[in-house]
Symmetry: C2
Subunit: 169 residues, 2 copies
Amino acid sequence: VANRRAREDAVSRPEWAAEMHLESVGLVARLLRLHLLFGRVLDEVTAAVGIGDADYLVLGLIERSGDQGGSPTRIAEILGRSTGGMTLTLDRLEGMGWVTREPDPRDRRRIALRLTPARADATTRVRNALYAWEADLRLGDREKERLFAMADTLLELLADDRSSAPAPP
Amino acid sequence: VANRRAREDAVSRPEWAAEMHLESVGLVARLLRLHLLFGRVLDEVTAAVGIGDADYLVLGLIERSGDQGGSPTRIAEILGRSTGGMTLTLDRLEGMGWVTREPDPRDRRRIALRLTPARADATTRVRNALYAWEADLRLGDREKERLFAMADTLLELLADDRSSAPAPP
DNA sequence: CATATCTCAGGACAACTGATATCC
DNA sequence: CGGATATCAGTTGTCCTGAGATAT
């Protein structure tokens, strides 16, 4: 056990944790930091193209929804927002001429969301910028493979989680 | 090359990407999803203790600032917010009796932020809940080690980034 | 009728910008 | 004085909740 602890300690004190008063640096601390840093990258990239990061996520989901178009409810679910709030967001995006709402003839409750050509360009630029950012990391094949594997492991764990939120004593 | 591509494709199409219309699933897509999912975990855990996630980050940083106490500017920097906004946040936190502001006698421009005992408990509860969440993942030693290593790789890459945000054409 | 999808009205509130006071 | 630190005033904007309209 002593051996295990020593090995874990060796790897579990990254430089950035030096100035923090933490007993130990585990997965959560790393994920928290990752969350912050990646959020910032996202902010910068989207701002450079002139969209907010929240809007980019909406636009990106619409773009990826295929020929059927995106639906407000579905997008709200994925992003963890209310449908009412999503209507407001869409009003805004539509008002700026970035998104169109078309009634779906097959189910007239539904609405098909589509990007206007100009915004399709913009989201493509954001995505290209993100890909460029990824390319700038200059990952080797092996490293990439391992990062993918780790990310997928984490994502599976997180996706299975749905029932979390332990209550405090 | 054909071999490499085949191998990469095998690993680069996680299940969750099935319904998305993506040409390829790279690191960014995974990080985006990770960002969303972990953000939700954070929301749930903090909400269960009765704080907002943004507030938890502030409280957590104050708690970890050691004997000197935290300073508004420093916290704003770490979280990527404006100092003006931080003042408002601190007003709120102080108003709720969660944080105290003490003048620093050694540099009277500065202010030392401290948690009230009650809130120190709350942040501890959140942290414990996060640790419990981590423990619930039931990671094996080897898996943990690999996740740590990968997370640290990513964090280094992100930390070196500071100069990103490529401009669009 | 029960359910699903979307919208509307009204409100809450967090965060920003820019200017200001104080201190090193 | 030039820089840093924190705050204030005024505003913007995003999102939520809860109720309602229309369609299945």
